[in-house]
Symmetry: C2
Subunit: 308 residues, 2 copies
């Protein structure tokens, strides 16, 4: 059974959208990644840190999903990372109201012994030095290292980010960030330039407009499912990454055709995530629900055409 | 052979994009629609109006493509419709700098006798009363009436627009306009509401993010081809409409599966349009070039996935 190592934040989020607001609820990149990845038949572990304000019920959620939390460090007397944000009316942009790093400020990741041979490493959004430290702790080169990052690190830790980018296989990044990183407006050109920095595969996430997968001259596009209700976009990108990495860990097949399927699985799981606040939808998502919606993705994009 | 009747502006455009600017060049909705539709094996005619400043070479372009211009009225001493616009850096938005209606102000459309039994009517962007007048002149109900419109008419002629919408089969509209028309942010809900106004099919155009086709509970998504260079978006929506209507006229098959193909053909032709200024790319486009790019659309979106 394939092993997936997940690095990223485990946090409290307070979220406001046009449809309501929440107090501190479970959030964080590693949380969404691991919940999405738990849809697949794999072994997974989280490397992260929380304070002792982190409730046992959240820990139980992970263990009940067979997510190994032996390296989810609990700092005595510490407070968990906290983010508060408010989405604008169109849900495509948001303001960060509060960011409290707390225990994350001094976090030094420790990869569990039995995941130092993980097949896939999913580096969720975190300081690039922390991501690099995880790569360096691996006993052997994983079959696939996937990196998710954001503009904050381009602005504040570009040299460290460039070093991580040079060591990975797949980068997932949103369209504006791809443009910022490369100074290219065309996403085709941006993806070309990013491949020259190291990654063989570039996934550009466009939110409600879907995601593009680039590899050399090949391009694949996965739409986002048009939904009646989008409630809360928090965690959509991480759920995408978790579905992508989880599927590749299960199938252990790093071909372009299989990466296409991984992008579809990622889009599929992200489409559930946004239907409820926080992790509400993901934590109870059933395999048959995910499978049914995969059929909708097929319906949505498949066509036959004859050339004359 | 199927007959397509095209209504819309034939005009002069002056365009400024981040990549350059043009003097007055050939433009207009009916121009782009007819050039795109001329890729198909159909009979087509334009109903429109120009002034006697409209050069013979443009008329020849239409006739050389077998586009009937007997009802492209030339007003002696009149000036052709003129639009001048400037695109912003991201090419997704633009400012209109000049709009001179000229001969269009008093335009009263006359459908040519031999197109009163057209199979498909493509109502390009124009005053809804003009569009309605064309519908009223048809000797028999066309198999399909397609309407393209824009927010300007929602703001300035909503009752007339609603009347046309009640008489058509397919509306093509962009995402912001769909939201404005229905007061729904979700495009799924917007498409439902628009279907209640009359059209059985709703095509929502999202520019560089592709197009969605809705019919009852069915949805189909056609991506825009990711391009290295987008030079000038002018006419992309009209080329899409022309490809869509042209393909349906040729195939004479109004099933959802065939409408899917029509959306792909529309997206395909629009992808050429934006590669050069104005009609430059469309006027010389060859069938084999269009066919080759259709294969890219297949590559871009087709995947196989097994459910477990």
């Amino acid at each position: 059974m394939g092993k997936l190592l997940i690095v990223g934040t485990v946090a409290f989020d307070a979220i406001e959208t046009p449809f309501g607001k929440t107090d501190k609820i479970l959030g964080g990149a590693a949380t969404y990644i691991s919940l999405a990845a738990s849809q697949f038949n794999i072994k997974s572990a989280i490397v992260s840190v929380v304070g002792d304000d982190f409730p046992q019920e959240h820990m139980d959620l992970f263990t009940n999903k067979n997510i190994n939390v032996s390296s989810l460090e609990v700092v005595k007397g510490g407070k968990s990372f906290y983010w508060k944000g408010k989405y604008h009316n169109d849900l495509n942009s948001r303001d960060t109201l509060v960011t409290e790093l707390n225990v994350l400020a001094d976090f030094s990741p420790a990869v569990p012994e039995d995941f130092k041979d993980a097949d896939v490493v999913m580096l969720g959004n975190l300081h690039p030095s922390t991501q690099m430290s995880v790569i360096n702790q691996m006993a052997k080169r994983p079959k696939l290292i996937v990196l998710d990052t954001m503009n904050f690190w381009m602005d504040n830790a570009l040299p460290e980010l460039m070093e991580v980018i040079a060591h990975i296989d797949v980068i997932t990044i949103n369209d504006e960030e791809a443009r910022q990183l490369t100074n290219e407006y065309s996403l085709v050109k941006a993806a070309e330039k990013i491949q020259q920095l190291g990654p063989k595969y570039v996934v550009i996430k466009k939110g409600e407009h879907g995601a593009l997968l680039f590899h050399k001259t090949e391009v694949f596009f996965a739409p986002a499912l048009p939904l009646e209700e989008v409630f809360d976009p928090t965690g959509a990108g991480d759920s995408f990454a978790g579905g992508f990495a989880g599927y590749l860990t299960e199938t252990e097949n790093i071909s372009f055709n299989n990466l296409k399927r991984a992008v579809i699985h990622g889009s599929n799981l992200a489409s559930f995530c946004v239907e409820r606040f926080g992790t509400e939808r993901m934590k109870d998502l059933q395999k048959n629900e995910a499978n049914e919606r995969l059929l909708q993705f097929k319906e949505l994009t498949q066509f036959d055409i004859e050339l004359q």
